[in-house]
């Protein structure tokens, strides 16, 4: 730190300080900047030392946003807007590959604890995704890069700044001839400005950008066809017919706006509205969330998508060049499927839309652009900056030898195409500098590491996917001496303005912004989105853009397999590899945690099994297979799953060879995948990574070369006799015909509005409420009619028994609000963001792979995923499936089975209808968890919070202390649970109480203490992109949740138990097109229910179907 950087008035702590003796300087160096990061993690003593040091340095220009002093000293003078115990919310945004995600960050005394979406940004409506939710954990990652390094030794921030200034001077002589930059793509206009400055200063330097998950194919295709880079923003809220071409726009490939827009046309209020529901067709190679939501789904290899789109284009009457037309012949397909799908799309011009996966070749994107134009599809095209040069440019420069290679973020040594051999190339640079948040594979190879600050510690800006300008604000001063990318660039560019705050502010002014403070508090600048363009297609450039080679379908077989590379749900491209929340949150479809696996189709698995003689599926013939006895007893034990050895998936290890490169990884069979496509999730198998990511999964990048970044052909799989344990949180894929997720078709719903309540045991049993069954939900919630229950119910309609009210004035006593939740299964896309949001809000610990294998994951909310097939065979994993999701959390039963069995009154009901847990009272008999029909209670088998993963079994020999840094992440309003106690969803009771306190202080002397509807949002509800979750007061008939629960699709899971859950579900609807060859009259799940439990006569398949229909037409006749 030099004199000119000192800010603020000069204060001195001691005469030594004033004199600036070397000893004092030395003390600062030792105690704070280096010392802060000298140890692994942070312990309590050390944290106190850091805090003390920051006191000492307060007058030396380190004064910033971090306010640890609040924790140890009371304010002599209360700072404005800071009330201990009351969180402060700041707007910011998270840099994400798809563009910045506007967020609002909850901070407690200068300590960010929770991220939520910024509702002012309407396309996202306050929603975020799981990665955003989990990103806060990275801030407090003890394994992050805590200091800059040169040649393996720690260096001070001053040394870094000096080096950057030197670099700038050294390269300005020859215009940056020896200077190469490799950066991650960024939507930050400030960075774009600095890049321009760098290019101006160093015209000969190379600037390239690389992200292993390329999202720019469509933009490049648009540039080819129209001459300018355009981004396609589908307006799904206006689309009634959607065809997704290998596009997981509701999951991995999409942004929140897409899921949000899509769900708008899937929400069905009543039977009349069912006809307005949109229809989704999906053609895909993997089994994605989009495929799970699809009404019609076609399994097709990624490399065959081009031919499919050509067939569709021809069906729609487009004129295409002859070689392109012929390419469609290479694909054998049910012509009816394409024809009927095309007809359906054409029938609603202006409301039909095609979406292509970003990994598809440019020709496909170009063709889809044309088709969308023909369909007059609701798509906005916006101008985006032209994509920068790719990593190949850097490779080419490096091959010739360069002086300085600056890698800004990213991890190319790990994730660059394997054919480049980036590690070797990097060594050719005289000096390589890596700006990185964590010490990774690239940092290990770099000569110099500059520690990068987290976005929650940095100033900056960015643009959302549609171009709206959003700020990045620091919530806390960097916990470690780290650098912002903007500062690094500014210093290399030799700018006078090197403070990121000033840079961002200048950019804001340049973008036409007026009030920077308002921008910061709003979290966005209105009307700053990218300009829209009307598409003007140039037929000649279109013809040139269509490469017949990319549109021809190759033949695939078990010997010539297609490999798809995909971002993993756990680590994305590898950037979250040390994020425990993301590691432990089960993948939406496979339900795997702490691993990735080679995902293969059941057909391929069977063929490999037969060919190579190694069992992938359980080998023994099930005892109950095709046995009349079991059929009649309605019991069927599913055997058709992966090998599970004592509840742990024993996956076969396989060697997958592609282009002469081989990896060894476990196999996981996923129904619904294209026959000969396998999926390799990227981002795991990191070698230089923190404690969390160590030894997790395998690295699929080693197979990926520049000519097959999305999909590659010609792979072969060799099974080995070894097995590998996969931590799978859901062993069983079938719903076993039980009426758990209730599904109907839109048409069936129109004819039978009450179908959801004519399923399950309760449809055959007397009403739970007996004669009071017809009472309204509001009455039932406050009066608690006993029905057939022997259990004494509290009455919530009047004052509690221990409260004295003037006689005759009982009715004036304010009604206690009754909380309830409704989950619309028709909107839930299974994105799993709710699970991470819940984890973040409620201090839910992670337990590690070993404990997940034992079944001890702690998530309060889980997302059940069921597959159902047209025909259930107990010995075969189906190839074509329908997927049903159900988020399962504490149902807050009014007749809670858990409460009556707790011997110590630790789980009790409160007057708001919440099933509460008194952690202090719990002794941990676990009877409640046994008696919970929904299995949503979670037990602290160990001190998850205090003990480190791997130390759980060490008893007195293991450390029992929570690292201070990890403690900082916790939400102070939620108890951190100790071992031996039970825990579960509380309906975010801390949020309810905060809202009640707020309302009471507003109400003053008036009786208006009811929290207004919509004021309380549970964490899962807040994050949900599709608004599938609604929470509120069910004793108020006008509340949103009451209105939703009034729907005839509303049902209670396992309602017959008379537990009377406060959480109810809206049955899911599918909207098949009856003309399609794969049309179905009933969703598979419904057919399975009818067949097995629905009193349908036991007859042959064909007969049964006909009979079933007749039967269900008169549902009350059984």
């Amino acid at each position: 730190m030099n004199e000119s950087e000192l800010s603020g008035p000069r204060y001195w702590k001691s005469l030594d300080d004033l004199a600036e003796t070397p000893a004092f300087r030395d003390w600062i160096e030792r105690e704070f900047p280096a010392g802060a990061s000298e140890i692994e993690g942070v312990n309590r003593r050390h944290f106190m030392k850091i805090m003390a040091a920051s006191f000492g340095l307060a007058g030396l220009g380190m004064a910033g946003c971090r306010r640890p002093e609040q924790m140890i000293l009371p304010y002599a003078k209360q700072p404005e807007n800071v009330i201990p115990g009351v969180p402060v919310y700041f707007s910011s945004s998270m840099p994400a590959p798809q563009g910045h995600i506007p967020v609002i960050v909850e901070t407690h005394q200068g300590r960010p604890t929770k991220i939520e979406g910024n509702p002012s940004y309407h396309p996202y409506g306050g929603a975020t995704d799981g990665y955003t939710q989990a990103s806060i954990l990275d801030l407090y990652d003890p394994d992050r890069a805590t200091k800059s390094r040169a040649a393996g030794a720690a260096i001070s921030s001053t040394a870094v700044r000096d080096r950057l200034a030197e670099l700038s001077r050294a390269h300005s002589a020859d215009g940056g001839k020896g200077l190469v930059f490799l950066a991650e793509p960024s939507a930050s206009p400030s960075r774009a400005r600095l890049v321009q400055a760098i290019q101006a200063k160093f015209p000969a330097a190379t600037w390239a950008e690389y992200c292993p998950i390329d999202l720019s194919a469509a933009e490049r295709a648009a540039a080819k066809v129209t001459g300018q880079a355009l981004r396609c923003l589908p307006k799904l809220e206006r689309a009634k017919r959607i065809l997704a071409i290998d596009a997981d726009f509701l999951g991995k490939d999409g942004d929140i706006a897409a899921a949000r827009g899509f769900s708008k046309n899937r929400k069905v209020k009543d039977a009349q509205e069912a006809s307005k529901m949109s229809r989704l067709y999906a053609v895909e190679s993997g089994m994605s969330n989009t495929g799970a939501m699809a009404d019609h789904r076609l399994r097709l290899a990624t490399s065959q998508m081009g031919a499919f789109v050509v067939k569709l284009a021809l069906e729609l009457g487009l004129s295409l060049p002859a070689d392109v037309r012929e390419s469609a012949d290479s694909l054998e397909l049910d012509a009816n499927w394409v024809a009927e799908c095309a007809a359906d799309l054409q029938a609603l011009p202006g409301e039909s839309l095609l979406i292509a996966g970003p990994h598809l070749p440019e020709s496909v994107h170009a063709l889809i652009m044309v088709i969308n134009d023909r369909l007059n599809a609701p798509v906005d095209y916006v101008d985006v900056p032209a994509p920068a040069a790719g990593i190949e440019a850097v490779a080419a420069r490096l091959a010739q030898g360069v002086q300085t290679l600056v890698i800004l973020g990213g991890n190319p040594v790990y994730d660059a195409p394997a054919d480049l051999d980036f590690k070797a190339l990097m060594a050719k640079a005289d000096e390589s500098i890596h700006l990185s948040y964590s010490y990774n594979e690239t940092s290990a190879e770099a000569d110099r590491l500059i520690a990068r600050s987290h976005y929650l510690e940095s100033w900056g800006d960015g643009r959302t996917r549609d171009g709206m300008l959003v700020p990045v604000q620091p919530m806390i001063e960097p916990l470690f001496p780290a650098f912002n990318e903007l500062e690094v660039l500014a210093r290399i560019a030799g700018e006078t303005e090197t403070e990121p705050y000033a840079i961002a502010k200048t950019t804001f002014a340049a973008a036409g912004g007026k009030d920077y403070n308002k921008f910061l508090s709003d979290g966005l600048l209105l009307n700053s989105a990218y300009p829209q363009r009307t598409l003007s297609l140039n037929p000649r450039s279109l013809a040139a853009a269509l490469a017949a080679g990319e549109l021809t379908a190759p033949q695939l077989s078990a010997g010539s397999i297609e490999v798809r590379f995909e971002a993993s749900s756990h680590a994305y491209d590898g950037r979250y590899a040390n994020n425990g929340w993301l590691m432990e949150v089960p993948d939406g479809m496979t339900k795997l945690t702490w691993d990735n696996a080679i995902l293969i189709s059941p057909r391929l698995a069977r063929e490999l099994q037969n060919e190579q003689g190694i069992q992938i599926f359980p080998g023994s013939k099930p005892m109950n297979q095709q046995d009349g006895f079991f059929e009649s007893a309605k019991g069927n034990v599913q055997k058709n799953k992966a090998q599970f050895n004592r509840g742990k998936e024993a996956a076969v290890l396989a060697e997958l060879t592609l282009d002469g490169r081989t990896i060894k990884a476990p196999i996981h069979v996923v129904p619904g995948m294209a026959n000969y496509s396998v999926i390799l999730p990227l981002g795991l198998g990191r070698t230089e990574v923190g404690r969390v990511g160590k030894g997790v999964g395998f690295n699929a990048y080693t197979l990926r070369s520049s000519n097959g970044m999305g999909a590659a052909l010609g792979a072969a799989i060799k099974l080995t006799r070894e097995t590998y344990r996969l931590a799978n949180t859901q062993e069983h894929w079938s719903m076993e015909g039980r009426a758990i997720v209730r599904e109907g078709t839109a048409k069936y719903y129109q004819e039978h509005p009450d179908f959801a309540n004519e399923m399950g045991v309760e449809s055959h049993a007397p009403a739970n409420y007996g004669k009071d069954d017809s009472k309204s939900l509001q009455e039932k919630s406050t009066q608690q009619f006993r029905g057939g229950s022997a259990y004494e119910h509290p009455e919530f309609s009047g004052p509690p028994p221990n409260v004295n009210i003037w006689q005759g004035n009982e009715d004036k006593f304010p009604r206690t609000q009754q909380w309830g939740m409704a989950i619309d299964l028709n909107s839930c896309t299974g994105c799993t963001a709710c699970v991470v949001a819940c984890q973040s809000e409620n201090n839910i610990p992670i337990v590690g792979k070993d404990q997940v294998l034992r079944g001890r994951e702690m998530h309060w909310m889980r997302l059940d995923r069921y597959f159902s097939a047209a025909e259930y065979k107990s010995d075969e994993v189906p190839e074509d499936v329908q997927v049903s999701f159900m988020s399962m959390l504490c149902q807050h039963c009014e007749n809670a089975p858990c409460e009556s069995v707790c011997p110590v009154n630790a789980t009790v009901h409160d007057r708001q209808g919440l099933n509460t847990m008194a952690y202090n009272r719990c002794v941990g008999t676990r009877y409640c968890a046994n008696n919970c029909p929904y299995k949503v209670r979670r037990f602290n088998f160990f001190d998850w919070n205090k003990r480190q993963i791997g130390d759980f079994y060490k008893g007195p020999f293991g450390a029992v202390d929570e690292p201070e840094l990890e403690k900082m992440r916790a939400n102070p309003n939620v108890t951190v649970r100790m071992r031996g106690v039970m825990e579960k969803c509380t309906f975010c009771t801390q949020r309810i109480e905060a809202a009640k306190i707020d309302q009471k202080s507003k109400a003053g002397a008036s009786a208006d203490i009811h929290v207004p509807d919509g004021k309380i949002k549970t964490a899962c509800q807040q994050v949900c992109p599709t608004d599938a979750i609604t929470f509120g007061d069910i004793s108020d008939p006008d509340s949103e949740v009451s209105k939703i629960k009034a729907s005839d699709r509303n049902y209670s899971v396992l309602g017959y138990l008379n537990a009377r859950p406060r959480t109810t579900y809206l049955a899911r609807l599918r909207n098949p097109n009856p003309k399609m060859p794969d049309a179905y009259k009933k969703p598979y799940a419904y057919s399975a229910y009818k067949e097995r439990y629905g009193n349908a006569p036991k007859t042959s398949e064909a007969h049964g179907e006909a009979h079933m229909d007749a039967h269900t037409d008169t549902p009350l006749a059984h």
Partner: protein, 501 residues
């Protein structure tokens, strides 16, 4: 007979005189025409004789085994319940299985001492003391599991209704709370019953020591040995003297004793039914398919008696061989115990089958699945173990040849207990592993800590039982005499005439 023949015509009378009806000899309960003195000497002699070497060996092995429980619990308390194999959804595993298993074993003691006493079953006398001791030790072993299976064992006292500053009482609706009362009552009454029944014998032990001390005639090879024997008798004089509570063998003592014994028998009889009924409520009161079954109380009680008698035979047959008690524990005793096993085993078998019938008849898909899965699902091996040991094994007791082969009976008695352990495993684990929502189905397997902790309780049980046979009279001396032919003047008379009445 004579009176009848007088009223008949002579021809018929002559015919009748030629009839030689089969004499159904009731086997005496003490064979070989032993006298009272022999009985006293035999029973007291076991305690008074020098400690045999095998006892020390057994004790050492038992202590070492019991240490496994100690270590297991130490690890458990210092780390967390996670050292066991429990997980969601199987939150109760071996601990509860073992608890029910041991409590079940504890059933025979009270049944023998209370129910059979009220039913005036004389054959109970030679086995009741040991059976009661077994009950108490089994309850001790059983009590460890529910205590330590809780997450925070240091707060387990919250289950007792102790007034406290928090003003929170236990929740009386919970079957676990009922368990606390049921098991502690059962334990208390069993100890009382056992101890009270022992008072006359403790008096005898004391008196014998006093007599020997007075006679001063200690035989021994060396002075040292004689002093040693004398020292022991001094110890016995005071030890048994204190616990004999002033028993003087007086008539009014005997009268009070008999009354108190009867009262305690009356008090204990409902406990025999209540304890296991309440333990079965732990399951039956829940909503889980496979647990939520009204058949559980009688089925559990029958199973408990079944396993309890199995355990009595497991213990008594070796004791009989070691101490030469063949005259006191006779074939008739073995026959009776085997028959009870046959009866209760058949009830249990009936219950197994009835569960299936009800599951089918009830037409509840969740329940029918639970039972199908129990027998044919992932835990089929446990079900087979349970069914074969509990239903097929006791059926062999129909055969006299089997009952007379005491080695076979002993092996079968062990099989019965293995089967009954598996029954509890099947009930507890299979129902939890596959319940309502298939998404959370799981699999339970124990860890080494589970196994060692359970294994160790057999050591603990053995330690206690070895102490019992070393320091307490194995059988109630007075009561054994009461059922001897000599103790029954009418029976004695009839026996002389070679007839019966």
């Amino acid at each position: 007979m004579a009176t009848i023949s007088q009223e008949m015509d002579p021809a018929q009378a002559a015919l009748l005189d030629r009839v030689d009806p089969a004499v159904l000899e009731e086997q005496p309960l003490v064979t070989n025409n032993r006298d009272f003195n022999w009985v006293t000497n035999k029973i007291c002699g076991i305690v008074e004789a020098g400690t045999p070497t095998w006892w020390w060996v057994c004790m050492a092995v038992a202590l070492a085994t019991a240490a496994f429980t100690g270590m297991g619990l130490l690890w458990l308390v210092s780390s967390g319940v996670g050292v066991w194999g429990l997980a969601n959804p199987i939150n109760w595993g071996w601990a509860i299985v073992n608890f029910v298993f041991w409590i079940g074993i504890g059933h025979a003691g009270t049944l023998i001492s209370a129910v059979l006493c009220l039913l005036k079953q004389g054959w109970r006398t030679s086995i009741n003391r040991a059976a009661e001791a077994m009950t108490i030790f089994a309850v001790v072993c059983a009590g460890i599991f529910p205590l330590f299976h809780v997450g925070r064992v240091w707060f387990a006292w919250w289950l007792f209704p102790i007034p406290n500053a928090n003003g929170i009482w236990p929740q009386f609706r919970s079957p676990l709370e009922w368990d606390v009362f049921a098991v502690s009552t059962y334990g208390t009454v069993s100890v009382l019953f056992w101890y009270m029944g022992m008072i006359p014998d403790l008096g005898t032990m004391r008196d014998r020591a006093v007599q020997r001390l007075k006679a001063g005639a200690y035989e021994g090879a060396t002075e040292y040995k004689r002093k040693f024997a004398e020292g022991f008798d001094v110890f016995r004089k005071y030890f048994y003297g204190i616990f004999a509570m002033g028993w003087r063998n007086a008539g009014n003592h005997w009268r009070n004793y008999e009354m108190a014994y009867l009262v305690l028998a009356g008090l204990s009889t409902p406990l025999v039914l209540s304890v296991h009924t309440i333990v079965s409520f732990d399951f039956a009161v829940s909503v889980l398919p496979g647990w939520h079954t009204t058949i559980f109380p009688p089925y559990f009680v029958a199973g408990a008696i079944f396993s309890g008698f199995g355990m009595v035979m497991t213990l008594m047959l070796p004791l009989r061989a070691i101490f030469g008690l063949h005259d006191l524990i006779t074939q008739r005793h073995i026959d009776n115990m085997a028959k009870i096993c046959l009866g209760t085993g058949s009830i249990v078998g009936y219950a197994y089958i009835m569960e299936f019938f009800i599951a089918w008849y009830g037409a509840n898909p969740y329940e029918s699945f639970a039972f199908i899965n129990r027998a044919f699902g992932q835990y089929w091996w446990a079900y087979i173990m349970m069914f074969s040991c509990n239903v097929f094994t006791p059926q062999l007791f129909w055969f006299k040849k089997v009952r007379e082969n005491w080695a076979l009976v002993w092996v079968m008695s062990i099989l019965i207990n293995v089967g009954m352990w598996f029954e509890r495993f099947v009930i507890t684990v299979t129902s939890l592993a596959n319940d309502f929502l298939p998404s959370s189905w799981g699999y339970y397997s124990p860890t080494i800590v589970d196994i060692f902790t359970f294994f160790g309780t057999f050591g603990l049980f053995s330690v206690l039982f070895l102490l019992f046979i070393r320091f307490a009279p194995l059988m109630p001396i007075g009561e054994v005499k009461y059922v001897m032919p000599q103790g029954d003047p009418h029976g004695h008379h009839a026996a002389e005439k070679g007839g019966h009445h």
